[in-house]
């Protein structure tokens, strides 16, 4: 056990002290604070929006300007209209000369037509506001002509009420579902990144030790199996530490933004109805997914002689993770689809897909338990198999870049 801890500590320490690890951690933490405070940051840049915007109006009929102003005020618009004494032609030359941003021309008796003339089309927010106000004005005028009452008008524009109701027992109500969805989406993202990032670290570590030839010294001192699992445990702990830092940073960031997690953006993410079990399952599936892919990565890393070849050999594993993520992300909108259910029992997809199901659906407990058991079994088999490949693989040098080398490695491991 002594040497297990030595390797464990070494793997943890050397990785934690690397610049890339520290920078990654800092960047993510910084971006959390940035994101959480984004609304207030944007507001601070938008200061001028609230200043008054005065627009010259050429009103051919002379009867709309006042009504339009009233309508704009009702809309909480900052636009101030000013009847222009100048002709359209003169105003055009002013805009072209850059002395004025835009002006409005209103024409027509029964039906209002208007033209918004600006130097460029970018002032569309202002144009849209004006168009909205004009639309309301027009509607009110027409209603008046048709002698409609205000209540009749309200009836005309009343939205249809449609409530969705799910009959299946397992499904959560629509409201619950949309609340859980945001959180589950984020956590799937986290698990997805973690099962790519940390196992990759392991494969690189193993390949590094092989290419620098220090491996032969290591495995003459400590058994390769112990070496492999100590390494996986060491980097796994580092992963947990990093995730904890991120979680803490995320929490503090949200606190610092002054939001209480139920308003605005966060209400969409479902933090208001946080379920403890969702987080529990997220940690569980993160760990299971990590171990599953870490063993696979260590096995693959032990096959190459040069670190340059690692990515090539890791490709099949990456494809597995990417397929899992496709299923999981597409499953967010339809978690009850048949293929999602099936995939949640396939060990390489389960960390993402079963988590999606327990996060979004009320499925009976035996389902995640069965999936976890299948994953544990697979980790066991893969660990046993990986240890055999690893024993042979670490002594194998040459241009090994294909999965065929697994057979060679097992043979060498057996001959041992």
């Amino acid at each position: 056990m002594y040497s297990f801890w030595i390797i464990f500590k070494q793997a943890f320490k050397t990785k934690a002290m690397t610049k890339s690890f520290m920078i990654t951690t800092l960047v993510v933490v910084a971006s959390f604070f940035l994101l959480a405070n984004l609304p207030s940051i944007i507001e601070s840049f938008d200061g001028d929006d609230n200043s008054q915007q005065t627009i010259q109006v050429v009103d051919g009929t002379g009867q709309y300007t006042e009504a339009l102003q009233a309508q704009l005020d009702q809309q909480d618009s900052a636009i101030q209209l000013e009847a222009s004494a100048l002709s359209e032609e003169q105003l055009r030359t002013d805009v072209e000369a850059g002395e004025m941003d835009a002006f409005l021309v209103i024409e027509g008796d029964d039906e209002i037509t208007a033209r918004y003339i600006a130097e460029s089309a970018t002032e569309s927010a202002q144009a849209a506001e004006l168009e909205n106000a004009l639309q309301s004005l027009q509607t009110a005028r027409v209603a008046e002509q048709l002698e409609l009452e205000a209540t009749e008008l309200a009836q005309l524009f009343a939205p249809v009420e449609m409530e969705r109701e799910a009959l299946a027992e397992s499904s959560k109500s629509q409201e619950e579902l949309s609340q859980a969805r945001g959180l589950v989406y984020i956590l799937i993202m986290v698990i997805y990144i973690a099962v790519i990032y940390y196992p990759n670290m392991i494969a690189m570590e193993v390949a590094n030790e092989k290419s620098s030839r220090v491996m032969e010294i290591l495995i003459s001192s400590v058994s390769p199996v112990k070496h492999m699992f100590a390494k996986i445990a060491g980097i796994g702990s580092l992963g947990i530490l990093q995730m904890m830092i991120f979680a803490l940073a995320g929490y503090l960031a949200i606190q610092s933004s002054g939001s209480d997690l139920t308003e605005g953006v966060f209400s969409v993410m479902g933090f208001s109805e946080v379920k403890f079990s969702t987080f529990f399952y997220a940690i569980l599936f993160f760990l299971l997914g990590y171990f599953l892919y870490a063993v696979l990565a260590a096995l693959l890393g032990s096959l190459v002689s040069r670190t340059e070849d690692v990515q090539q050999l890791m490709l099949p594993m990456m494809i597995l993770i990417i397929i899992a993520s496709f299923i999981a992300f597409s499953g967010i909108s339809m978690p009850e689809a048949g293929y999602v259910t099936v995939a949640s029992y396939i060990p390489f997809f389960a960390p993402l897909v079963m988590f999606l199901r327990v996060g979004l659906l009320d499925i009976p407990l035996w389902e995640p338990l069965l999936s976890i058991a299948i994953m544990l079994l697979t980790i066991g088999i893969l660990g046993w198999f990986g240890a055999r490949v690893y024993r042979g693989g670490v002594l194998m040098y040459g241009s090994s870049q294909s999965l065929k080398d697994i057979r060679r490695a097992i043979k060498l491991g057996n001959e041992k």
Partner: protein
Amino acid sequence: MMTLSIKNATKQFGDFTAVDDISLDVAEGQMHGFLGANGAGKTTTFRMALGLLTPTQGEVLWQGRRISYADSPDIGYLPEERGLYPKMKVQDQLVYLARLRRMDKKQAEQGAKEWLERFEVPHYANKKVEELSKGNQQKIQLIASLLHNPKLLILDEPFSGLDPVNVEMLKKAILDFQRHGATIVFSSHRMDHVEELCDDMSILDKGKLVVHGSIREVKRTFGKQNVRIHSDADITALSELPGVEKFTAQRSGGVFRIADEAVGQNLLARALELGPVRQFALEEPSLEEIFIEKVGRAHV
């Protein structure tokens, strides 16, 4: 007491036989040299001794048992392919590798310091290995193999790629280490190193053990001697005498290979007849000659 005992060890990789039925004992406290061309099976033999490879047949025993990871603290190994963490500092690296062999941290730190001083490189303690020259890396590698005070030290080509000054330094260190009671097995392609350092030696050829025993015994049982005669007269004709197996001409005479000592006396008498003899010597054959004779080609 026999500490390292190789018993009928055979190692096959598929159809290829790397080591073919080798039997060999290395007594406690001895230094044993392995000679052999590339691919003769030296490294495979070492890996079997270390338990990195399991013999296809036969076994390798250390103090009567097969070597396992429980013996890790007692064994030191310098692999032929040198390997250290390029980005780790020398001191940290030495301590880490010694601790993997279950040495106490404090002792490892102290030991590393002493060995670095002994090899005249204490100022490298906090440098990364990749910043060191090849020769200095090799010093570090040797320290890594014996820092934890192993009882059995296996060195695969410990002197290759070193300048003469450093070879002497390492040789002395290894001899001192043996004097402290360690059993040492090493391979080399330099005959003179083996001749100088070892009590016992073996020659491997294509996986087979062709010669083994103490150096004196090997030379004696080789049954051949060299007669060196330096003379003013031309003595080339003497090579035709019965009992002379081989003649190597030199500037002022030559060396005759003979199997029977009496032939030597005969050679001297005949040389005196031809003219005055400046030098006459009966010499032991060199390991180089034995090697060429046994393996059938020069050892490179």
